[in-house]
């Protein structure tokens, strides 16, 4: 079977799963949702069929599992978002349309040779920095939950950090491909860029008050530096610098300090000062409210979950129990309804995606392609780890999105551009191989 036919079969399977998912939400919540839910699966399948056809035209030799996996993840996301709030699901579907258009456009523009991007590397570098600084600007920037990650133009909200991530990877792949021999020699003066990037990451951290994004950018940088230079020492030094910097920021920025405290001690037996309303409350009723409620949601799921559409997310009076459920905490919603079995299966899809992405990097012929594919894939893995790890209290919780699943336009668009990059690299590698 040709690669594209295999992709089609996989997509059909995903379409069936999506239909089952929406049907079960419909069965469980007939009083709230309408039969329109059943048309979602059909619409979804049609969308991905179009994307598949575009792939046939542009990247015939690309990996046949990536697009179906992205489809599966977005389908799971939309199903859960639909279950939580049908209006949000409609908007998310629109964003998926936009994202698929972005995917197809990227594929068409770069179908001949994506390596031409290398010559625009500084444009991407500057672009990434500009996007990162944008939320800190007084006019556009907007602070949500103490972290400045958002930009708004009129009614349109956008999280530029998501796209900056992709730009940064393109820049790093080009830059490191060019400078890798020099860097590998390890002379002190060559550490300049490393220190600059480190400073940049810290700046982003201070500006946006967001530990998660800083960790993400710096982790991507270290990973790609390691691939380029093969020097584990650089990674060690970089990690030390990051920890030192983070420790410094911890003492300066109260928001970061709060996040660490919440992470280490989400529950208190005695009341502590609550900055939200100035009262004395146990921490689980104030600062760590979200984290704790989300853990309760996970634990309620147990082995097999409550079943799609049957989870408990509202009080008996109908008020939401967990804030930001469909963005930051979509994982705890899914884990409650699908249980450990479902949550583990979801994470296995992420693992599979990472495995395929890294395989593409290894099959790629040239340094730029290898760095690009590995960087994009690692970014995907690290972002998943940062948000879900935060929910699971493995690391301090920071509000970033779960790739492909969370509600949020910028995230979906950026991740489909990331997918386009992987498809392009894999198409080229396989074309040369087969």
């Amino acid at each position: 079977m040709s690669l594209r036919n295999r992709e089609l079969v996989n997509l059909v399977l995903v379409g069936l799963l999506t239909a089952i998912g929406f049907a079960s939400v419909y069965i469980a919540r007939q009083a709230v949702v309408s039969t329109a839910s059943l048309s979602y699966a059909g619409f979804f399948f049609a969308l991905y069929l179009a994307a598949h056809l575009a792939c046939r035209l542009t990247v015939p030799y690309a990996d046949p599992f990536l697009l179906p996996m992205a489809a599966l993840l977005t389908a799971i996301g939309v199903t859960e978002i639909y279950r939580l709030d049908p209006t949000d699901a409609f908007r998310q579907t629109l964003w998926i349309v936009v994202a698929l258009v972005a995917l197809v456009v990227t594929l068409f523009l770069l179908r001949h040779d994506y390596r031409q991007l290398e010559s625009y590397k500084y444009l991407f570098g500057i672009g990434a920095i500009a996007l990162l600084v944008l939320p800190a600007l007084p006019f556009f920037g907007q602070s949500v939950n103490g972290a400045r990650l958002w930009v708004h133009f009129g009614s349109l909200q956008f999280q530029p950090g998501e796209l900056a991530k992709v730009f940064l990877i393109v820049f790093l792949a080009s830059y490191l491909r060019e400078k890798r021999e020099v860097l590998a020699q390890g002379r002190l003066k060559d550490f300049g860029p490393l220190l600059v990037i480190w400073g940049g990451a810290m700046l982003v951290l201070v500006e946006t008050n967001d530990l998660g994004s800083a960790l993400l950018y710096f982790g991507i940088f270290l990973a790609m530096l390691y691939i380029a230079t093969a020097r584990a020492l650089f990674v060690a030094i970089g990690a030390l610098l990051f920890v030192a910097g983070a420790a410094g920021v911890y003492h300066i920025v109260p928001h970061v300090r709060d996040r660490i405290t919440i992470w280490l001690h989400p529950w208190t037996d005695h009341p502590v000062y609550c900055a939200l309303n100035g009262k004395l409350l146990p921490r689980q009723d104030c600062a760590s409210y979200q984290l704790v409620k989300s853990l309760y949601s996970l634990s309620h799921g147990n082995w097999f979950g409550t079943g799609l559409g049957k989870g408990t997310f509202e009080t008996t009076a109908g008020h939401p129990l967990i804030p930001y459920l469909n963005t930051d905490f979509i994982y705890s919603a899914l884990a409650q309804e699908l249980g450990l079995v479902g949550a583990a299966a979801l994470l296995l899809v992420y693992m599979l995606f990472v495995a395929r992405g890294m395989r593409i990097a290894m099959l790629a012929q040239d340094g730029f392609s290898k760095l690009l594919a590995a960087g994009l894939t690692f970014a995907f893995a690290l972002q998943t780890f940062i948000i879900v790890g935060g929910i699971l209290r493995l690391i301090p919780l920071t509000g970033i999105t779960l790739p492909f699943v969370s509600y949020g336009g910028s995230s979906v668009v950026a991740n489909f551009v990331l997918l386009a990059g992987l498809l392009l690299v894999s198409n080229r590698a396989n074309a040369a191989r087969l």
């Binding site: 097999f304 949550a343 998943t384």
Partner: protein, 498 residues
């Protein structure tokens, strides 16, 4: 570069594998401790998606049922209590805002079908996999609505409680308390509960307190039954032992006087032990107490179950032990001969505090030839399909005294009703045995806590009852005895068709 990429791949996969491990921890290992947390609102809401089992009285009367409501797409079951305040204190409540109390709290596992009985576990797992509503098991209580109604009516407008048990099995038939509350109002209109209780003649009114099991009262002369048990069991006294009542006894060089009226303290002169109990003569019991010692009296009390939470299916914090209390804490003296005043203990003063349930167990022990049966209120538990999951079998709880002592006490207590302080409890055609109690809660002139403990028929005992009233100006014989009589009559009337 491929070596580095392979290593990075392992790191990336490792990170996500760590997420699977973390998820496993929270979804399996940590669930029990998270579910128990007070602020776990999800668990509290999720409880309402379970169709709790019914609670029924002995005759099938539904005491607790469910109302189905759909809120935000989830089907929730809220509790409704068709009998309202009548069984409120025993059944308790299960609400979101105020958690649970009573049997709703202590029997929550049965009511939500989360007990570990094999059949329930299988049914529950199947329901869960099918996505069907989980149904709880039904509780069938031993309580008799007709007698309970009589008891609650009798106590109306008063502060007090009444407990009645089947002396041969230990089954609790009546458990009444006033002021009480309508459990239907706990969630919707809590202030109405406190407002309704405001007119009650005691302070604090504590309408949520189940006085029948959780109220601690000074027993007064009703405790003389325990003292007499110790005295008779010691072998040093018999029903015919002779005493001379001078109207007082000397303790630590001071006179302790008999119960008195405007004519001064009563004085009976030469009396038998039977007459001493019949007329509740403090001076005699004071002397008996001094002679046998506090340790002996306390040991007799312990054989009735004092100093232990009486076994019952209600929450343990709703049934404190009876005994000596020092500054609000149970006081178990290691050397009672130096720490406790035996004379005052003998007629139920000192620091002795008792619950109505414990006093009903005292009466039941005497009635059942000296054996106290383990009290219980849940007769059986049935699955939603009607099959029986568990059935309570009567168990011997304690032997409180010799059989001969029980026989003597039975006779003495009958005398109380036929010609002593408790004549108001007489029932035509039925022999009743009883003992009054009038405990001073402060100095002279302050209101009394009055008691009547009884059993009937005395010649073939079936039912024992304990009645307590707070803030009374009269005696146990005039206030509590008529109520005990009404309850016994209601129980005896239902005997032919239980």
């Amino acid at each position: 570069m491929n070596r580095q990429i392979a290593r990075l791949a392992l790191i990336g996969l490792g990170l996500i594998a760590a997420l699977i491990v973390g998820t496993t921890y929270w979804q399996t290992w940590a669930t029990a401790s998270l579910n128990d947390r007070q602020d776990n609102e999800i668990q509290r809401v999720a409880q309402f998606s379970i169709k709790r089992g019914l609670i029924r009285a002995a005759d099938g009367t539904i005491l607790a049922t469910n109302v189905r409501k759909r809120i935000g797409g989830q089907t929730l079951y809220f509790r409704r209590y068709p009998q309202g305040a009548l069984f409120g204190a025993v059944v308790g409540y299960s609400t979101q805002s105020r958690a649970r109390s009573g049997l709703e709290s202590s029997e929550n596992d049965y009511l939500t079908g989360s007990n570990t009985n094999l059949k329930t576990v299988i049914d529950r797992t199947l329901d869960k996999l099918r996505g069907a509503t989980i149904k709880g098991n039904t509780l069938w209580l031993t309580m008799r609505p007709s007698a309970q109604r009589v008891a609650m009516q009798q106590l109306n407008g008063k502060c007090g409680a009444a407990v009645a048990v089947d002396i041969r099995t230990g089954a609790v038939l009546v458990m009444a308390t006033r002021p009480t509350y309508d459990p239907n109002l706990v969630e919707s209109n809590f202030s109405r509960i406190t407002n309704r209780a405001r007119s009650a003649p005691c302070s604090p009114t504590s309408p949520l307190l189940n006085r029948a099991t959780a109220g601690l009262f000074v027993p007064g002369s009703s405790f003389k039954v325990v003292t007499a048990t110790a005295a008779l069991d010691s072998g040093r006294y018999s029903i015919d032992s002779r005493f001379v009542d001078r109207g007082y006894c000397i303790e630590y060089g001071k006179e302790v006087q008999n119960f008195g009226d405007q004519n001064g303290p009563e004085r009976f002169g030469p009396v038998s032990f039977l007459q001493a109990l019949q007329h509740s003569i403090n001076a005699v019991f004071c002397d008996v107490g001094k002679a046998i010692g506090a340790r002996s009296i306390l040991n007799a009390a312990k054989r009735y179950g004092f100093y232990k939470s009486p076994p019952l299916e209600t929450p343990e914090n709703e049934r404190p032990p009876s005994g000596l209390y020092n500054h609000g804490r149970l006081f178990n003296p290691s050397r009672p001969q130096f720490q406790v005043d035996p004379g005052r203990l003998a007629f139920g003063q000192e620091r002795m505090l008792v619950t109505p349930l414990q006093m009903a167990m005292v009466a039941a022990g005497v009635a059942n030839h000296g054996v106290v049966m383990r009290p219980y209120v849940v007769q059986r538990v049935t699955a939603p399909d009607g099959s029986v999951i568990s059935r309570t079998k009567p168990h011997k709880y304690r032997r409180a005294m010799k059989t001969s002592t029980a026989a003597a006490l039975n006779e003495m207590m009958q005398a109380v009703v036929t010609g002593g302080t408790g004549t108001a409890a007489e029932i035509p055609g039925v022999r009743v045995a009883g003992k009054t109690g009038t405990a001073e809660t402060g100095g002279p002139g302050t209101p009394n806590t009055t008691w009547f403990i009884a059993f009937a028929p005395a010649d073939a005992p079936r039912y024992a009852v304990a009645v307590v009233l707070q803030n009374q100006t009269e005696t146990g014989g005039t206030t509590a005895a008529p109520i005990a009589k009404e309850i016994l009559q209601a129980l005896l009337a239902g005997r032919s068709n239980p």
